[in-house]
């Protein structure tokens, strides 16, 4: 284990985050609000600690091998959380550091769970920072550093894989840095488009920017108390529904589409399943809530928005679905677990893993009926290797174990049944709002501190796809 190199790189990452923190400083200067000191403190502490780490471990030599890669990614995210929380705490709008940390990790992991009761009292600088960290976390801070900084020209794909969602990363270009640039370029381009479309509707530029940042990251933070619902605009609902669905699909497909190969969407098996799950979810919920909405148009508008929001793990709300009957709520809970596609900014277990699990189970049935059958599991036309299947099954087991353990812990802290289960799912799948007391109209403020800490861990584990964090926590990792 080459900890010196890891710490050196984590330092560089912190400097990078410090530079991004200058953006809300500009907003604060523009709006002349009281968060300037807090943001400057954040910039200073984050950049300075980064520089100190870089200088302390300046001469560190050696490669980032796969073990160091895991540690580097996990430490970077934890460090980014602690540093990003500074402006929130220093500003005084968050009364404890735990609250600020919860909010920041919820931001970086694109969860969107908030402890703020009145969001609109925050000054614009902090609101922008809150949205910006989601946007950075969406495509990934490490992937961004690979794209922009030359320092990560090391050791292949391990680091990339440790952060990127999905079982395996599709390399868009022969070089890792070029792949990262293409992904971030696509991400930036679509975000710009969404800002323009939202600004064209009944939304000012600041809100449009914040919402576009958090839509494309499938984050779900909103600078408004009533989230998207507050605008009451069918145009905005439609735009955001479409962009949530875009953000929940594989960005390699978007890149191909920009290059002119639109047919790739249809050819991609995971994308077909993703759209299928979305449509089936919409139909079932529309049927079971048919007596709530007065017209079919209204039903389509609210239900598609909510299903897209939950399936892509964004977590925006235009309707308080806690007031719906139990069936649609169960459907939503299931969709929370599914999540977006591999290679998207969405959370959850990912459509690809769910599909593979179903096919895996189906193969067992076939094997029982025909003991001599040779069945290859395929995704589209491509056979899936045994290694990938093994990783998917392992992932699911860990996902369930962590889910069970965390839910039990939340229950022990005195939360009710629905809240315990749904808060853990909503955090692990990086959605934000859950059911019952953590539903879209309420928030996480009343969860006890230990509960917040557990949920913060769940968010991180969920965003880094379980293995990256668990590997670092395993004793075997630290043995020689």
């Amino acid at each position: 284990m080459n900890i010196r190199v890891v710490l050196n790189f984590v330092g560089r990452g912190l400097v990078f985050i410090g530079i991004f923190m200058c953006l809300p400083v500009l907003a604060s200067l523009y709006y002349k609000e009281d968060d300037l000191f807090a943001l400057l403190t954040g910039v200073l502490v984050c950049t300075a600690s980064g520089i100190v780490l870089v200088f302390l471990f300046h001469g560190a030599k050696g490669d980032l091998r796969h073990r160091e890669g895991f540690l580097f990614v996990t430490l970077s995210w934890v460090a980014a959380g602690f540093m990003g929380a500074i402006p929130f705490r220093v500003s005084g709008y968050f009364t404890t550091y735990m609250d600020a940390l919860f909010e920041t990790i919820s931001g970086f992991t694109t969860t969107g769970a908030s402890i703020l009761i009145d969001i609109e009292m925050l000054p614009h600088g902090l609101l922008l920072w809150r949205s910006l960290i989601q946007w950075l976390g969406g495509m990934g801070i490490i992937v961004l550093s690979i794209a922009v900084l030359p320092f990560l020209g090391v050791g292949g794909m391990q680091i990339f894989n440790a952060e990127a969602p999905g079982p395996a990363v599709d390399k868009l270009a022969p070089r890792m840095s070029a792949t990262a640039k293409l992904l971030w370029g696509t991400y930036l381009g679509i975000t710009m488009l969404e800002i323009a479309l939202l600004w064209a509707g009944p939304m000012n530029l600041f809100d449009a920017t914040c919402h576009a940042f958090t839509t494309m990251a499938t984050g779900g933070f909103s600078p408004c108390n009533a989230s998207i619902g507050g605008y009451g605009s069918a145009y905005i609902d439609t735009v955001i529904t479409i962009f949530m669905l875009i953000a929940g699909a594989n960005f390699a497909l978007h890149y191909a589409a920009i290059r002119g190969d639109v047919g790739r969407y249809i050819k991609n098996a995971e994308f077909r399943w993703y759209i299928g799950i979305f449509i089936i979810g919409c139909v079932i919920i529309m049927w079971s809530t048919r007596h709530i909405f007065s017209s079919l148009g209204e039903s389509i508008r609210y239900v598609t928005f909510q299903v897209a929001s939950i399936l892509t793990t964004t977590g925006f709300a235009t309707y308080d679905y806690v007031k719906w009957p139990i069936a649609p709520q169960i459907i939503l809970l299931l969709l929370m677990i599914v999540g977006g596609c591999a290679g998207s900014t969405g959370g959850g277990m990912k459509v690809m893993r769910i599909v593979l699990l179903i096919k895996y189970a189906h193969r067992e049935i076939l094997k029982l009926v025909h003991p001599n059958a040779v069945v290859t599991i395929k995704l589209g036309r491509n056979p899936v290797s045994a290694d990938v299947l093994r990783a998917v099954v392992g992932f699911s087991i860990f996902y369930m174990l962590i889910f069970v353990a965390a839910s039990v812990a939340m229950g022990l802290l005195g939360l009710d049944f629905e809240t315990s289960l749904s808060s853990v799912v909503a955090c692990m799948s990086n959605i934000g709002p859950g059911l019952a007391h953590v539903g879209p109209a309420t928030n996480y403020a009343q969860v006890p501190y230990i509960g917040k800490a557990i949920l913060t861990f769940c968010m991180l584990v969920g965003r880094l796809e379980i293995y990256t964090v668990l590997v670092v926590l395993s004793p075997a990792f630290w043995r020689a």
Partner: protein, 456 residues
């Protein structure tokens, strides 16, 4: 530049690593899932799983935009089909193809412009044989790098205690070398490369690279306490393809060759195809056999069988029995530096040789790299001195030269004479200059070599 490498075996892996480190966009096609996964984990290249003989796979690996094809898959036929497909569906300027099979030698026409249009054919066995041949010309050498069409050679030697040049400051040694062109280009000590200066010492056990004029190297060799007579009596163990090729090359040069081969049938074939070589059939190489064949009187003992453990052990045995120059063929990459440490004079790895030859070809004779033993990060650069560069019209000692690089030789324009540079030598425009440099100072050297537009 986009490079398409077919086959992620040892050669494909090393070539991909080198080219990717140099900033090229490398696509690798590999059929074996384990190898594909290994290379995609370790290198920053794009790996496509599939056969190099499939158009679909090659297209997926960016065939249309490929500027150089390097087909080094295990099967000759895959390499041939890949270059055929590349010719039919894309316009690739450079094609390098590995071909092992002897059967294609008789049909060389298919490699030419009108058919497959292959620019460079690499045959690892043949390259290994020619490398061993070169080593035998310089007795005791463990590595020879040829520069300037072979006129300048860099000979690598392991220095023993007995040599008159060890354990003394180099400037004292140089002062003694009156009338002898003595120049040490570099010292390799514990896998670290030093470019020596006057106060440095050569220590026993160092590997030194000495600049040699091909036609006139006897003085330098005897000055360093090395033997100067090229090999005349040679014994080869192992009648593999490499062994057979080597024996044929040597007998053409009039060298007496004894070739030992355990398999009787193979011996009969060898005795038919080779003319002057004495073919010996012996199940093993043992002391008894070696001494009866007077191993200590042989100038060199080379092991080229397909069994590399036997190669290593019989080479060590021959060394123990007094043979002055033992050379072993070792296929396992990890053993290479190990084996040279335990007493075998020179180790030849056909794959490293192949990689080195491919790199030389890619660099179009400009830069040669040393890759024959462990991973030395050094390059031998051969350039023509440009009129307005910082290199010319001044004594060498006035050039702002980085540590870690040395001018190893100069070939005067028009004369073809090799000049051994000293501090006061002046390089003229048009001279060919041979530079030995540590890889990390190469950017600085490129700056010195470049033409300055504002020079006047």
């Amino acid at each position: 530049m986009n490079v398409l490498v077919i086959g992620a075996g040892d050669v494909g892996f090393m070539i991909s690593r080198r080219l990717s480190e140099e900033g090229m966009n490398v696509f690798v096609v590999e059929k074996d899932e384990a190898k594909a996964s290994k290379i995609s984990q370790m290198l920053d290249v794009k790996v496509v799983l599939g056969s190099g003989a499939s158009l679909k796979t090659l297209k997926e690996a960016g065939l249309e935009h490929t500027e150089m094809l390097i087909a080094v898959a295990d099967l000759d036929e895959v390499n041939l089909v890949a270059s055929f497909i590349a010719g039919a569906f894309a316009n690739i300027p450079t094609k390098i193809v590995r071909i092992r099979g002897q059967e294609y030698n008789v049909a060389k026409k298919i490699f030419q412009k009108d058919y497959l249009d292959i620019d460079f054919i690499i045959n690892p066995e043949q390259e290994a044989a020619s490398t061993i041949d070169l080593l035998l010309e310089i007795p005791g050498s463990l590595d020879v790098i040829q520069v300037a069409d072979g006129r300048v050679q860099l000979g690598g030697f392991k220095m023993g205690n007995g040599s008159p040049v060890v354990n003394r400051p180099l400037k004292d040694v140089t002062a003694e070398a009156v009338g002898v062109n003595f120049l040490i280009a570099s010292i390799l000590r514990h896998d670290k490369l030093l470019i020596p200066r006057g106060k440095d010492h050569i220590l026993p056990g160092d590997r030194v690279y000495v600049v040699l004029d091909k036609d006139n190297n006897k003085d330098v060799l005897s000055f360093m306490g090395l033997r100067e007579k090229p090999a005349h009596n040679v014994m080869i163990y192992g009648g593999s393809i490499t062994g057979e090729m080597l024996a044929r090359r040597l007998e053409r040069k009039g060298i007496n060759v004894k070739l030992i081969e355990p398999d009787e049938g193979r011996c009969i074939i060898l005795s038919e195809t080779l003319s002057r070589t004495t073919v010996l059939n012996s199940p093993t190489v043992d002391k008894e056999m070696l001494s009866s064949e007077r191993i200590s009187d042989m100038d060199a003992f080379i092991t080229t069988s397909d069994d590399e453990e036997a190669n290593i052990l019989s080479a060590l045995l021959a060394k123990r029995m007094g043979n002055p120059h033992v050379i072993a063929l070792v296929n396992n990459m990890d053993y290479v530096s190990l084996v040279s440490d335990i007493g075998v004079d020179a180790v030849i790895n056909p794959r490293i040789v192949a990689v080195s030859r491919i790199l030389q070809f890619i660099r179009k004779g400009k830069i040669f790299s040393i890759t024959s033993l462990s991973d030395i990060d050094a390059e031998v650069i051969e350039v023509e001195a440009m009129e307005t560069s910082d290199l010319v019209d001044r004594p060498i000692k006035n050039i702002n030269w980085p540590n870690g690089a040395i001018i190893a030789g100069i070939i005067r324009r028009g004369q073809g004479r090799v000049i051994f540079p000293s501090g006061s030598t002046v390089i003229d425009p048009g001279d060919r200059v041979v530079i030995f440099a540590n890889k990390r100072v190469i950017p600085k050297i490129e700056k010195i070599l470049s033409v300055k537009p504002d020079y006047f």
